[in-house]
């Protein structure tokens, strides 16, 4: 039973990361009906930028771990958001009225470009985050020893997701995003600058993805130029699981997928861990293509 709960907490921590990345997919899909294949690579860029800033600025020694991580996260999110906006401008905006396949190929091209750019700038090898900067301790909750990192990870992703949720639901800009997701043409008639909304979506999604990249770097300690692909695919699975285009769906889907995967790895086979996620994906698409929270007339963001 103890192993079950350990795997559950681990699954929730990893699921939080999937959920953060999934939000980027789901928002872009909601507004543009486009699978942004390069999103996973923006996540990788987040991890690499985090490492670069961490090493070059030496923040941990100067201001202590907690403020350093927060500052780092803010910087990474801003930088990745800028890259996301440039990506949209260069690779997707000119294709907005082209057949959908063109945008898919463009996204794949952007993904290959990013991967190889990272490889050329850094190196094809695994890079290692300094491992002595974050607490390795575990705290005891209800008789379970849970690593502090895991809890921090889960709470951070939860916090970011809630912030996004309230931003989308309660602010004027959020309303504009929701409107553009339902009908771009009608939104334009209502005086919404759809171009700006799309640009914004391409800033928020990558920012969250970048934060997830930093979190993965801090949690697992090592990063690789091609890791974005697998994380991206799983996050996309999470988005579909919850109902693509649906923000709470992405959150639920991410957490659920993390838990399924962790339990599957523990009780079925660790070697088949990645295959489990894809089986979930195929099953969901066959049985309920709209996802768990998706409805035919669901409000899509």
């Amino acid at each position: 039973m103890e192993e079950f709960f350990q795997q559950l907490t681990n699954g929730l921590a990893v699921g939080g990361i999937y959920a953060l990345i999934a939000l980027g997919y789901t928002m872009v899909y909601g507004v543009m009906k486009l699978i942004n294949f390069a999103h996973g690579d923006l996540f990788t860029i987040g991890a690499y930028l985090g490492l670069t800033l961490l090493v070059s600025l030496g923040l941990f020694d100067k201001i202590g771990p907690l403020p350093a991580v927060i500052l780092l996260a803010v910087m990474v999110m801003i930088l990745v958001a800028i890259i996301g906006a440039i990506l949209e401008r260069v690779a997707y905006k000119p294709l907005r009225h082209s057949p959908r396949l063109s945008a898919v190929v463009s996204a794949l091209g952007a993904s290959i470009f990013f991967q190889n750019a990272i490889m050329a700038i850094y190196s094809p090898k695994f890079l290692v985050y300094p491992h002595d900067i974050l607490p390795k301790a575990a705290i005891n909750i209800l008789g379970l020893d849970i690593p502090v990192m895991r809890i921090i990870l889960f709470l951070t992703s939860l916090l970011l997701m809630l912030a996004l949720y309230f931003f989308i639901q309660k602010t004027k800009i959020g309303t504009a995003i929701r409107a553009a997701a339902i009908d771009q043409g009608a939104a334009k008639l209502m005086g919404i600058n759809v171009d700006r909304v799309i640009m914004l979506v391409f800033c928020i999604g990558p920012a969250l993805g970048g934060a997830a990249g930093l979190m993965v770097g801090l949690y697992y300690g090592q990063i690789n130029f091609s890791m974005g692909w697998m994380y991206g695919l799983k996050a996309f699975t999470a988005a579909i699981l919850g109902g693509i285009g649906n923000i709470p769906g992405a959150m639920v889907g991410g957490l659920l997928l993390g838990v399924i995967e962790a339990l599957g790895a523990a009780y079925i086979s660790i070697a088949w861990k990645d295959a489990i996620a894809f089986c979930v994906l195929i099953l969901i698409l066959i049985v309920r293509p709209t996802g768990l929270l998706g409805e035919r007339v669901a409000e899509k963001v």
Partner: protein, 318 residues
């Protein structure tokens, strides 16, 4: 029609003389181009003619290659004899996996096929049924021979591969102009209307899928024979992306386009071997630029295809 036939003949003649003035390295590059051309042509049936977003083609290729490799190494069956069986295995696999997902549209189908190719790769790495050899793959596949003539040098493979490519091109041209091929085209143009005019859409899509898979599986045996060693990494998602890109960049639905695409995407990068690190960087950027400036591909199928669609529309398939 006449001029395109002459063009094909000139192309065939030029290709036939290639090995005489290419060294072994470049002959091998041309062999790879040929293999990718056959695979991309088989994907073209699914993606180009039928309009199904299928990005898991490497899975069928893998099934064919592994079928041939396993039977060759354990029972010593000559590898080229296994071609039909490899095709059948890939076709059966396509039937099983495609049947439940064939109704999915656009992006959803794309994502599921990616899932399938990843599952196949993971299964191969995990040495499923203890026959795939795990991450190291299978080695020691024997060289094929035809009428006692041993095929071992790149030149020999050149004629084998491009001969098979020529057969593929011929058959696909026949397919394109057949009743079935026109039905596929019509499904691509407008699925609902095709269904409305009496075409069994799901059935046609499934058959297109199986044709593509059988051909990719057969191509897998040639790959196994050529390499004599196969490993799961040769059938990863990246391969599927290259095939997908060849079809789209060459001109979806056009046979000359797909062949040109194979030369550009597989052959041309070899020219820039020296710039190894930046090769794929440029490749990715080129994909984006290509889609922005010429999204119908380099050699899109000519307007005659729309006449066929129009004819179908007016008088039904003849």
């Amino acid at each position: 029609m006449k001029s395109s036939k002459i063009l094909y003949l000139v192309f065939a003649a030029a290709m036939a003389t290639c090995p005489f003035f290419l060294n072994a390295y470049w002959t091998d590059v041309f062999n790879n181009v040929g293999l990718y051309a056959i695979l991309a042509l088989s994907l073209n049936v699914i993606l180009g003619h039928c309009g199904l977003f299928h990005m898991g083609h490497a899975a069928f290729y893998a099934i064919g290659a592994y079928t041939a490799a396993i039977l060759n190494t354990t029972y010593g069956v000559p590898v080229l004899w296994l071609m039909p069986l490899a095709g059948v295995m890939a076709g059966l696999f396509a039937l099983v996996v495609a049947r439940p997902i064939i109704h999915l549209r656009g992006d959803y189908l794309l994502i599921v096929t990616i899932g399938i190719v990843e599952i196949v790769r993971i299964a191969l790495i995990n040495n499923v049924f203890d026959i795939t050899g795990g991450a190291n793959g299978i080695f020691g596949i024997s060289r094929p021979s035809v009428f006692g003539f041993k095929i071992s040098k790149p030149d020999h493979f050149f004629y084998l591969i491009w001969g098979f490519a020529a057969l593929t091109i011929f058959l696909l041209m026949r397919l394109e102009h057949s009743r079935f091929g026109r039905a596929l085209l019509y499904i691509k143009e407008d699925e609902v209307a095709a269904g409305g005019s009496g075409i069994n859409v799901a059935h046609h899509k499934l058959v297109a899928f199986i044709i593509g898979a059988v051909w990719a599986g057969m191509c897998g045996t040639i790959y196994a024979a050529k390499m004599t060693i196969i490993a799961p990494e040769s059938f990863s998602f990246a391969e599927s992306v290259i095939l997908f890109t060849i079809v789209i960049l060459g001109g979806s639905g056009s046979i000359p386009g797909v062949i040109l695409g194979s030369f550009l995407l597989v052959g041309l990068p070899e020219v820039f071997r020296g710039l190894a690190e930046y090769r794929m960087l440029v490749f990715g950027a080129a994909m984006v630029l290509m889609m922005i400036f010429r999204n119908q591909g380099l050699l899109p199928p000519g307007p005659k295809r729309y006449d066929i669609a129009a004819k179908l529309h007016a008088g039904g398939a003849q």
